[in-house]
């Protein structure tokens, strides 16, 4: 479509303004971490700190167990990814290759999983985990996350396996492979991009959770996840905005970087299942 120069300028103007409004809060987070205490408690607000206080990042690391929180979040996310991937690779492959009764209702099941309020599910899960003495253990969160992730990852993987021609496995089976060996040795190796995208999506879902971690781990401070740690820094009456913003930068940056570099894969996960 041809545009006049005026239209081009207007388009760029609109895009820059919109992007500016959308990205402003993220910019503000960094500025708040770097600004001096005086600059934070004055109006008009400081848009560019005169003397950025980079030391805040090392200071917050010594004052709060940020690395421990990040470590716990990583363990939970990796555990959830591994568990949900093992289970959903099997299920996705089964749904893609074999006629299974009830397999068609998977889409409906995913929607149901989306409808479940976390706050309803945590009540009985808390009761169950408490009765078997698991409250406070990272395993509770890993099990809960992976189960909630499985419907989505299964759906994504089934879609991916559907695109791989069956002739490949049939050829392997003619050569003497069993059906499982054909899957492990032929289908999985060429599915690496699909597996990676699915795992990435699962990682981001787990990393973002607050409800399950808060319910199961509140009493076990050494097992707090990053989101719990940050939430605990927001005081009821006063909050140290320099400190909490610097800590938030540590938690938000890994996920934002993953998104910036691997956006294509994550978007595939988001839209999978919606446009069939």
């Amino acid at each position: 479509m041809e545009r006049t120069p005026l239209q081009s300028i207007l388009l760029y103007l609109a895009i820059i303004t919109t992007a500016g409004i959308i990205l402003f809060p993220i910019y503000w987070l960094f500025i708040t971490a770097l600004a001096s205490t005086d600059e934070l408690s004055s109006l008009p607000p400081t848009f560019i700190p005169r003397d950025p206080d980079w030391a805040i990042f090392s200071r917050v690391l010594t004052e709060r167990p940020i690395f421990l929180w990040l470590f716990n979040s990583t363990i939970v996310a990796l555990g959830s990814v591994i568990l949900s991937m093992i289970v959903s690779v099997l299920a996705g492959y089964g749904l893609s290759r074999f006629r299974v009764r009830g397999g068609q209702s998977l889409g409906l099941f995913i929607l149901t999983a989306k409808m479940l309020p976390a706050t309803l599910l945590v009540i009985p899960l808390f009761a169950v985990f408490r009765n078997i003495g698991m409250i406070g253990s990272l395993w509770t969160v890993i099990i809960a996350h992976s189960t909630l992730i499985i419907p989505f990852t299964t759906w994504m993987l089934k879609g991916y396996f559907d695109t791989i021609p069956r002739e490949l496995e049939q050829a392997a089976m003619v050569d003497g492979c069993g059906p499982m060996a054909a899957m492990m040795r032929v289908v999985l190796p060429i599915s690496t991009p699909g597996l990676a995208a699915t795992a990435l999506y699962a990682f981001v879902l787990s990393w973002a959770d607050y409800a399950y971690a808060r319910t199961f781990l509140q009493g076990a401070q050494t097992n707090w996840t990053a989101n719990m740690g940050i939430a605990s820094m927001r005081g009821e009456y006063t909050t140290d905005w320099n400190e909490i913003s610097a800590a938030a930068v540590f938690v938000a940056t890994p996920i934002m970087l993953i998104y910036l570099f691997l956006e294509r894969y994550l978007v595939g996960g988001l839209t999978a299942g919606a446009e069939k």
Partner: protein, 301 residues
């Protein structure tokens, strides 16, 4: 070469069995972590229990929790807050999401970067989004109050988080900022699946840009927008982190949705039976609402 088991799964007649075996772990895990707890929830909601202990003697079945619920003004207030929030945030996210998607769907230099940038809030964890907006809406030195004064909308700092009406708007804006990129991503995916030929053909027939949008883009986008609408609605319905960390449901319960009420009754007041009743009702509302919405746009999902 794999060893042949007694059960020869390679034989076509037994292959469907392998399908079930592959699905078994997923089904078992979902049954243990989603279905079984749901049954416990319904069961708890029918008993007068404070802290449930499995193995303890079952309390008699009673509808007391539901009776108490339907006569409690707090519950109706939470319903009203939920409805207001769902409508505001869904509408805001749809408008912002669709317009940003249409904007970056134009061809221009740097459009890839613009696309990624505009959906960046999607990658920010909800708790972090709350930290950002809690400071923006701060009552003493917040950016938003300063902006409002600058624009002449008010002449003093607004106590966003501690005034009922203002807290609702602060919450809505935070949720829209976090929720619109999803709409944007879905809309873009939908826009890209429309064949360019359609537009070319319409142009040959002399259709204007507005007509092309009205008669090609919009109808072809409808199915994906229908699903998106349902997903965004459900997200607002179920949200816990943003509300809990930003306002905690306050002030004066003005931002307490059904989801927050469920949590607080259980883990704030230790009324697990009553909390489960609230949760079960929330789930029923979610199911009915999405069935109504999906019914309007069939053949999606």
């Amino acid at each position: 070469m794999a060893k042949k088991l007694g059960l020869d799964l390679a034989r076509p007649s037994q292959q469907h069995l392998l399908g079930y075996i592959l699905l078994a772990p997923a089904v078992l895990l979902v049954a243990a972590i989603i279905i079984y707890p749901l049954i416990i929830s319904v069961d708890l909601s029918l008993q007068n229990v404070k802290m449930p202990r499995i193995g303890a003697a079952r309390k008699p079945v009673t509808l007391g929790n539901y009776e108490k619920l339907f006569t409690s003004p707090e519950f109706w207030m939470a319903c009203w807050v939920t409805l207001k929030l769902v409508v505001t945030v869904t509408l805001g996210s749809l408008i912002a999401g669709i317009s940003t998607a249409l904007l970056v769907n134009n061809k221009f230099r740097g459009r890839k970067i613009a696309r990624v940038a505009m959906a960046l809030p999607w990658a920010v964890p909800e708790v972090i989004a709350v930290v950002i907006f809690a400071w923006i809406f701060d009552s003493s030195f917040g950016f938003m109050s300063w902006l409002f004064i600058k624009l002449g909308l008010t002449d003093q700092m607004i106590k966003w988080i501690s005034t009922p009406g203002a807290a609702f708007w602060a919450l809505s804006i935070t949720m829209i900022w976090k929720g619109f990129p999803f709409v944007s991503i879905m809309t873009l995916a939908g826009l890209q699946s429309i064949p360019a030929d359609f537009y070319a053909a319409a142009k040959v027939d002399g259709a204007s840009a507005v007509q092309r949008f009205r008669w090609i883009t919009l109808p072809l986008l409808m199915p994906i927008l229908g699903v998106t609408l349902v997903l965004v609605t459900l997200w607002v319905f179920r949200d816990f982190s943003i509300i809990k960390v930003l306002t905690g449901g306050g002030p004066l319960k003005s931002t307490q949705t059904l989801s927050i009420m469920t949590y607080d009754q259980a883990f704030g007041f230790f009324k697990f039976g009553y909390a489960s009743a609230v949760g079960v009702i929330t789930l029923i509302i979610c199911v009915i609402a999405s069935m109504l919405m999906l019914g309007r746009s069939p053949k999606t999902l």
